[in-house]
Symmetry: C2
Subunit: 344 residues, 2 copies
DNA sequence: CAAAGAAATGAAAACGTTTTCTCGGCACTT
DNA sequence: AAGTGCCGAGAAAACGTTTTCATTTCTTTG
């Protein structure tokens, strides 16, 4: 039962007094093998606790049954929920997942991408990525590893998204309708949220509101011991003429904003309106409950993984497949963190 | 530059007019190779965008440079933070991580364990696991894959923990000192939190308070579309004689309790005291701020991964290594969700 | 009863690497 | 001039599988 060191198929073969081919056949239940022999081999496999080496298997089968997940920040529950969705579709299909955390670092993102290709991942799910490495992405997608993006749009690459532009237009417009004119925008890296940023600018412009550079904050350092929303909020709220509303890139950053307002003894929404994005389960529990834009994280993960796996199959069958994009609807969740600004 | 299909080392060798051994030498910068030859080979490698197949590499080197993470629930930010800590130590060392989500399902846990061994993971971090599969764990740890536990104690296996027993004793005692006698305990699966459950029972007993089975709730189904804390709280609060305080296994479950109290129009802490465990960053932002027991998730991840990697090295060098356990201190964070019960 | 097919097995090639040998050539040392 | 040692390079074995091909034996079938 308990042998030390690792068993290989040839040792099993020797013990059973058959060839490796036969052992392989019983292992994979394919090809014809005598019932007695089969039983004997299986017995020995069981006794020795033998399990095939999947690396070797993958090498000859030309199939690793592995996909890679590249997320910017595992600490953000939104990504965790996506991952959950991904896993629920890929695990039953026998795929394992590599997890890579880019920390919003563009170099790490590229680095992980090639590492995962080297490790023969059959596909990669690129979640909320920057768009710097388009060339690399296309090259990999063409040659080695199918790629699908979630919450990111790249030309020629399958993706699943929500309508960020519309969602954010709606949110900003709503703030303006409430009477806000000094609206800040907090994000991690503008390259990672082009559409939302564009929506912010366009909606302001459409309403004849000037865009104030000081109201637009990015957090570009990549080592976050604490929520970057906090420091950005502190910065923007200490301006001589601070904003009356903050649109945060996502709920996670908005949590940092909440903390900043507590320290500064500002009340939400009387002194400051705050809007998030994602609608994390926890966001409705905050007091005041966070106004935000709902995205179906879990379903996005599922959809992305399904797309990816279909792409992997078609690539193996050399079946051409046209690009596709799945788009989920957003829902504006107006709760208690938004109100008319004080001045009115 | 852009060729389709995958390059192999022999194709590179052919193009460069050298043997594979030479290409391998320049790839790994080991052994002597002529400067000119080297340059030529490197040029071709670059042009073709060639990258070595790590599966094949792993096969001959007998080293996958991979570890596995087995967590019960990726949606719980506590685990996400642990993962973050793990990653920050293993990535710089060239290790990649497999992520497995057991969904609190004991069978899935075991299944992942053997799958990861088959995939030649050099080690596994078993996080907040049940203790059903001890035999399997020991067998794997002996033969194929080093194992380290986080937030779990298994005899003979390295682990990193906080002093759960003391932490929870303190918390329950504090509730009792406030005047509570009807204290509920909510958890996922008692097997996954023996120490905490034991502490709960012992502290009640020590204070002469009877243990009421109805106050002890487990959530054993494994498919959670929503926070199990919610339904357990609803159940326990609808008892004829409901508890005046709830000790939740962790903060994540406590969030569900919060939601239940909102629906039932119960006020925390006036009508119900709630205590969590973990001290997630978000917990201090809730209103009322959640009383909880602090655990250093990130550091626990780091420590676990360091332990694991040291074990892997000693195993490779056949250097014996005595078992070790690293223990972090907990801190009781008394905030606004606890108060004397109403009846007093 | 001969021919044909099927069943059961083994040998060997293949997957893409690394690594150990081996070997010739050249530069030193005496 | 002979021995020593290093440098640069290739051949081939090894890693642990799967799979194709070949071979033998057995069972059909007309």
């Amino acid at each position: 039962m308990k042998k030390s060191g690792k068993m290989t198929i040839v040792q099993i073969a020797e013990m059973a007094g058959v060839s490796v081919s036969t052992v392989s056949r019983v292992l994979n239940h394919k090809g014809n093998v005598d019932a007695d022999t089969c039983a004997r081999v299986e017995q020995i496999i069981f006794e020795q606790g033998y399990a095939p080496n999947r690396l070797a298997q993958g090498l000859v089968r030309q199939r690793s049954k592995t996909i890679a997940l590249i997320v910017p920040d595992i600490s953000n529950p939104f990504f965790a929920d996506i991952i959950h969705g991904v896993e629920d579709v890929c695990t039953p299909l026998g795929y394992s997942m590599y997890l890579c955390n880019s920390n919003f670092d563009h170099d790490r993102e590229s680095h992980f991408l090639v590492e995962m290709a080297e490790r023969q991942a059959e596909g990669a799910l690129l979640i909320s990525a920057f768009l710097q490495n388009q060339e690399l992405i296309h090259q990999l997608n063409r040659n080695s590893m199918s790629i699908v993006c979630i919450q990111t749009q790249i030309e020629g690459i399958d993706c699943v998204n929500t309508d960020d532009y519309a969602g954010l237009c709606h949110s900003i417009q709503r703030l303006i309708d409430l009477g806000h004119r000094r609206i800040a925008f907090l994000c991690m890296d503008k390259r990672g949220c082009r559409m939302r940023f564009q929506a912010y600018c366009d909606t302001l412009k459409k309403n004849g509101i000037p865009i104030v550079p000081e109201y637009i904050r990015e957090s570009v350092e990549t080592n976050h011991s604490e929520n970057p929303g906090y420091s950005m909020a502190r910065a923007v709220l200490s301006l001589p003429c601070p904003p009356t509303a903050i649109q945060s890139l996502n709920d996670h950053l908005a949590f940092g904003v909440y903390r900043a307002t507590q320290e500064l003894h500002l009340r939400i929404p009387q002194d400051l309106s705050v809007v998030g994005y994602d609608d994390l389960p926890i966001s409705s529990l905050l007091r005041p409950a966070l106004t935000t834009i709902h995205q179906p994280a879990y379903s996005m993960g599922e959809a992305g993984c399904e797309l990816l796996i279909k792409n992997i199959s078609s690539k193996r069958n050399a079946a051409p497949r046209e690009r596709r994009e799945v788009l989920f609807a957003t829902r504006y969740m107006e709760r208690d963190s938004t109100a008319p600004p004080r001045e009115l």
